[in-house]
Amino acid sequence: MTEQSLEARVSAYLSNRLGGDVRVDTLRRFPVGFSWATFGVDLVADPGVALPACSLILRMGADDGLYAPYSSKRQFQVLAALERSPMPTPRVYWHSDDRRLLGAPFFFCERSVGRAPLPSAGAPDDPVPEHRANLGSQFVAALAQLHQFDWRAAPELTDWEPGVTVDNTALHQVEVCVEDYRRWAMQPEPTVLWAANWLRRHAPKASRLCIVHGDYRIGNFLVQDGRITAMLDWESTHIGDPNEDLGWASLAQFNGGSGLVSRLLPEADFFRRYEERTGWQVDVDVVRYYGVMSMLKLALVNLAAAQRFQLSGTSDIRMAALATQSTSTLRQVQKLIEAVQ
């Protein structure tokens, strides 16, 4: 779909939704992300139309995207619930999975200010060197706020992960990995089979369940003047063991060669501050277990990219490039398991 036809569809959708004439002034796709497409939308509306803001973010899960087919429902639900949390998140407005509206599942949300520093260092306007300590504190604080959010009391999340308990959450996540593997692998992958069985044999019991972001790391938050203004990319969010996010954030892939968790703070400080914020003790062995699982999930993303590029006919060459990383990621899965053993 061209951006012009998307503009027309957005105008029609919002006019209908808000009961008055709303027109797209500009619509621009941001080059970030491999999965949900992100558009900045500037709007003009007739007086009296209750637009929440003149500039919004539109996120769309296209059918040739990395994890297609998509649904906007869970991201919308969790972001709506977290509006009652102190954690910085963008406010969400509307969503639908009806492809007749904009051509793909979508949601509209607040356009938070700031830019997203990347896992790799060296960008000219990288805010991390100047604000590292401050950002590290906020990074930990926001994670603690997320994990301490009372998700059981949130009406939006009542049907999330039914049947998942502290006893079976790790195994449940292993089976999520195996389902993804069956969906995405175009041929049997020996290291994935081995790692999945290792994870099954060593699955820990969780101390508690919480909302797990699922992709908590540098690259997925916005920074403005040294302040984290919004945590983004909630598509992998689920109910699970809080140690999952600690393991994911600590992956070497996100440290930009700095040796720091998400380029922000040493791992020991990350754990200590998290303990101080939550009052919960970090079990490093369990974090290491989830580090293995996280690396496996990254490898599965590589397999998904290979499959999308091979079968969907997408001309996004980034998918093919991402697919070439599967071997090095699987090698790291193997090394992490060997280190734990």
Partner: protein, 166 residues
């Protein structure tokens, strides 16, 4: 895991055609991009994965299959490694690719069957199979890594060039 060579070349042609050329304003640069499309189409008619790359993968699969066969044959619930393990020294790219995929499918099915039923097997067998499998993974991954090129995620995510080494 890799995409097929044909798909990679087709994908690069589509990327240039659909995403790059329409957004290039400079006629010389557009001409260069059309030239690259032409060259990719020429290469697609002639190119194949190198037999060295495929042969190393087949060798590793043959070795682990030979190691596992005596350990797994006849075990309850474990499918036999049924693929033909002999591959001629003169085999070309197509034969090697076929053999790799067949042996991989067969040996992975046997390993999965073993893991599903390992509780019913003697501990010594379980340990021997897992050790053989882990040795194979190391060889397989290291072999494939020899053919990898490092990827600059920042460049493809942001569209901004980073400084070139050297």
């Amino acid at each position: 895991m890799n995409n097929s060579l044909e798909r990679l070349l087709d994908g690069m042609v589509s990327t240039l055609d659909e995403h790059i050329i329409p957004n290039l304003q400079d006629d010389f640069a557009r001409g260069q991009a059309f030239g690259v499309i032409y060259m990719l189409r020429c290469i697609r008619k002639r190119a194949a994965w190198s037999t060295g790359y495929l042969r190393a993968q087949v060798d590793a699969l043959q070795a682990v299959s030979a190691e596992l066969q005596p350990l797994l044959t006849g075990l309850p619930g474990v499918p036999a490694i049924s693929a033909n393990l002999s591959v001629s020294a003169e085999a070309g790219e197509a034969d090697l690719e076929h053999a790799r995929d067949e042996i991989n499918r067969s040996v992975c099915a046997a390993y999965e069957g073993f893991e599903q039923h390992h509780c019913a097997l003697p501990a010594a067998v379980v340990s021997e199979v897992r050790e053989a499998w882990e040795r194979y993974l190391t060889v397989q991954l290291k072999t494939e890594l020899k053919f990898n090129v490092s990827l600059n995620f920042s460049e493809i995510s942001t569209g901004q060039a980073t400084a070139k080494a050297g």
